[in-house]
Symmetry: D2
Subunit: 333 residues, 4 copies
């Protein structure tokens, strides 16, 4: 049994991590942080098995994390890097669910408006979508930068496609369930403001997942591409659907890409090339997608994931499984 | 008081027509058809004012429509044209909410898979989005082809923009509430199949609103454009949001288009250029939209309407108001 | 045209008041208060007709209300009575949507935990559900205590029933859409906390609508009854359904009550005795209910209203219509 | 590994069974019936692990079930008993999720309007809510009558309470998610008919779960009670909340009952006495409930379960686990 801790146990990702880890045969969660110090964790999460009855929230304090094997940071951006500065010791594994280790130093100034506390660790962090680059998780990796929810939904189908085609423009129209915004207590996320409505947000070149998607397109395919990205807020709890338009594609190239993608993902446990519907992936670590052609010159990709699982906590566990030598799908479905 | 009839009173558009017309000061509804012959209409629609207590469904039979001034066809495609063949007499006004009079004869074979019964009337029908071409409704018009829901959400912002810019590609990513599919009793529209999910459908060059949008872009701007169009099914009752991407646009052209569009719609009662959110337009005849730029070369338009009102029954009443000389917003809000 | 003002224009009831009054032929809204002083009201409520473009929020200050004919207080409990103390002058009409004038002085201490600022006005306020006691609105009434949402849904069917039967116990199981809680920015009302869930709240003798229901049962039927009342929070925007159980009722008494109720409400415009479903009353001022019997000794009443309209703003307008001599249904549907 | 089959694999309970069994370490599903003979099961249920890629639907035919150890009947009422007549051989275990083995012979005529095909097996079937009567599952049991969803939510808290108190009346107001109705393709269950609405149904002494609840109250507590039961349809996918009113209870008796219930369920894995909210039990086999008092004479119980899991397929697996000697919570969470 490895010993795990979660910093930020009361947000939606932290909650989902705790839920999933409680089913994992090789992990025990010994530490969960929250402002509600000393409160039994199970009071907030009554779905937890009774074996967690004695677990109580603690402060974010280094001393509680010393004997842990793995620490999940389910903290907001601009928080994780400060905690890592404090607790990083080259021994324990840190899996950061925030964006704080996904980008290059400059990106934090430009897109996130903060100065990174430990830029020297950025190169040591491994950003990993296992189905694309699981071999990057060598045994000595100590920081995993867990991919963002929108980027995961986009990159899984897009990376292999871009290895075969070179589109003129890449337009990504994404729609996310409300948990994607985190548990923000703000008027915009009240039930009556979201339910029976729909809106686009961060329209234009604004959303912070743009540099993340562009960076890994470049790193993984060598292609320097600017994307157009529009996220939408949808009245569902969980799930993302990304509709991706690649213009200037010939039918031949479309078919070559399809064949390549089918081959590449044939044996992946969590990827299926089927008609994508959010209802088929929620509460799973799956990504379902499919590739379409408009008969003229546009290729269309539609991709779905559960933003809290494959887009956050599930993929974090998948990455942990790889690093610690567990079966990659342990604790996941 | 003009005398009105509704063929197809039990679908969602027919129901909405009845609801809206029951508030119209200049119209009385004397005829509603349904298979449930003789059943009081109010039994299905208990929200109706008590003055409708004696109205009962009747067959679809010419004899009931003879003395009416206006007949709304809230019937499916491939039904309206058959009814029109039967009842058209050059006197009464027919407002068809289906697609049967929106296109050219050939389009029906290709996109709708039927032979039009009275192709000679296609030229006489006026397709009208009042804010764009209300002057086409001359006094002698007898058939109004009421625009489709997706096309209305797209064409209102897009037509004036295309008068000023010439995009390389036009990509339209639309999301519709479930009533847009009509009251189809099929597994795909069951609550548990739609709720907490999301899917794209008719992906590629498949949806029947494609020829409608392309036809009126050409007719109204002179530009021969192929669009890419992907509709999505969203778990809300009513409302459409269309996110439109125009590629290859300079910032200067974007600004010129904005200025032109603001000017054009300044005095329109039902159009507002504000942050578009579905919750602000449902149960209204409004279209809200806004224009954005990505800072590189793509212009983004986001537009929302209520698919049952501005996208169907409300616009039908607006067109009726123009034709019969009522205040254009009578019975609408 | 009478001149109206709304104190508390940014909550859900205030918003609905503004929306409904904007369609009322005899009212112009000249004053809306909010903390966002000077902001155009239409920025928050883009559904408003353009004639409201120049209306801007103002402070809650007596000077803005001096020339108004009617002031709606869409303020929380324990706020309205303070405002009334400040603005009451025996001339203008005040319609209070909060609970501050519905009860007896002692009730405020016990149930609402505050001391009433002007208990001497409590007797002058008229609590009115028009279908029950519209004749209480005499011309000289200056304060109307608008009934609460749950009490409205309960009292409309229950009062005439209790005139004919004498149940052993009255158990009321109510379910409300989320807008019933007002626009509270709190974790409990976040989309992801409410959606796909359901809970009872204020279980036991706790909810503040209990004394309101008991008071008007006594006042209107002479019967001194204790009720059991359990409200539930339901993931819909608007609408209340109340399921009421009366035990110890004979079948004969049940039938007598039915006959009496049918007769009493036969000509009411906003009341229908039909199968009650929330979807049929939202966006209307209607109350739909029906009476059932279990064949043994329990009578069951199911009643639905739109909590924001018949349960708040619509009924407030209906009361205003009566007091000012408008057609009772003007501006309502 | 025991070999399992599912008759009725395409309804909501069958789907959930398949999903849960696919995670069970001791079971392999070798047979799933559906009208879509030969179609790969995974096509309908893409969430299934890839090991199920070769499983195809088959007819309902005895020959496919001969070598199975356990057969789950996820079939409608009035179907299961016919299948059991055909396949029952005293060897294999049959777990019937329908109502066909829950009641006495006469009840089927009266409440279900059919003549039971094999009434002689009714006595051999064991109706089991494990937390109440798990010891009734002896090794030689061959038919398990899996409890209904509403009865499970009611009986878990009510049975121990009734061992201690004797209420005058028992009123049960239940609210169920839409999957509780099964996958019925009917207008009443269309998204737009259910969403943003709410209704009571089977009001009065009508719902078929009444005799089931009354029978097991009598069998398990010796008390002959008539209940009042009103179910409501709620716009959520899954989950039931039952609000139960017991009248004529003293505060002392209430406290005695509480103490007894807390003690009885202290060590149950799937039962928690906490604030009941549907969101905390969906996708789990848990029942959460709590007991309240109104301070006068009414005890109120609120109870929640996931109707598809604890109310159907999860409890079926729990019963299977007991019978086959697996850990009772294997495959469940």
């Amino acid at each position: 049994m490895i010993k795990a801790g979660i910093v930020g146990g009361t947000g939606y990702s932290g909650k989902e991590l705790l839920r999933l880890l409680s089913f994992h045969s090789g992990v025990e969660v010994l530490y969960v942080s929250s402002r509600d110090k000393d409160k039994p964790v199970i009071d907030d999460y009554p779905f937890l098995p009774k074996k967690y009855s004695n677990l109580r929230y603690k402060d974010v304090d280094k001393k509680y994390m010393e004997n842990l094997d793995v620490i999940f940071l389910a903290t907001p951006s601009d928080t994780s890097h400060k905690i890592v500065k404090d607790i990083y010791d080259g021994n324990k594994v840190i899996i950061d669910i925030s964006a704080d280790f996904r980008l290059e130093n400059n990106d934090y100034k430009r897109w996130y408006k903060f100065d990174h506390f430990i830029p020297e660790l950025l190169d040591k962090a491994v950003y990993c979508i296992p189905e694309i680059n699981r071999t990057d998780i060598k045994k000595d990796v100590k920081i995993i930068a867990n991919p963002g929810c929108y980027p995961t939904s986009v990159l899984i189908p897009l990376i292999p496609v871009l290895e075969k085609v070179d589109p003129e423009t890449i337009i990504i129209d994404s729609k996310s369930g409300v948990s994607g915004a985190g548990k923000k207590v703000a008027e915009d996320y009240l039930f009556c403001e979201v339910n029976e409505s729909l809106k686009a947000y961060s329209i234009g070149r604004k959303h912070r997942h743009i540099p993340e998607i562009e960076r890994y397109i470049k790193l993984w395919t060598g292609k320097n591409k600017k994307i157009v990205f529009t996220p939408h807020l949808i009245p569902i709890n969980r799930g993302i659907i990304s509709t991706i338009y690649l213009t200037g594609i010939s039918e031949t190239d479309y078919k070559i890409a399809c064949e390549y993608v089918y081959e590449k993902y044939r044996d992946e446990l969590f990827i299926k090339i089927v008609e994508p519907q959010i209802k088929n992936v929620i509460y799973t670590n799956h990504c379902h997608f499919n590739l379409y052609y408009d008969g003229i010159s546009t290729m269309i990709i539609v991709s779905v994931i559960d933003n809290l699982i494959k887009g956050a906590s599930g993929q974090a566990i998948q990455n942990m499984n790889i690093l610690f030598g567990f079966d990659e799908k342990e604790g996941l479905c």
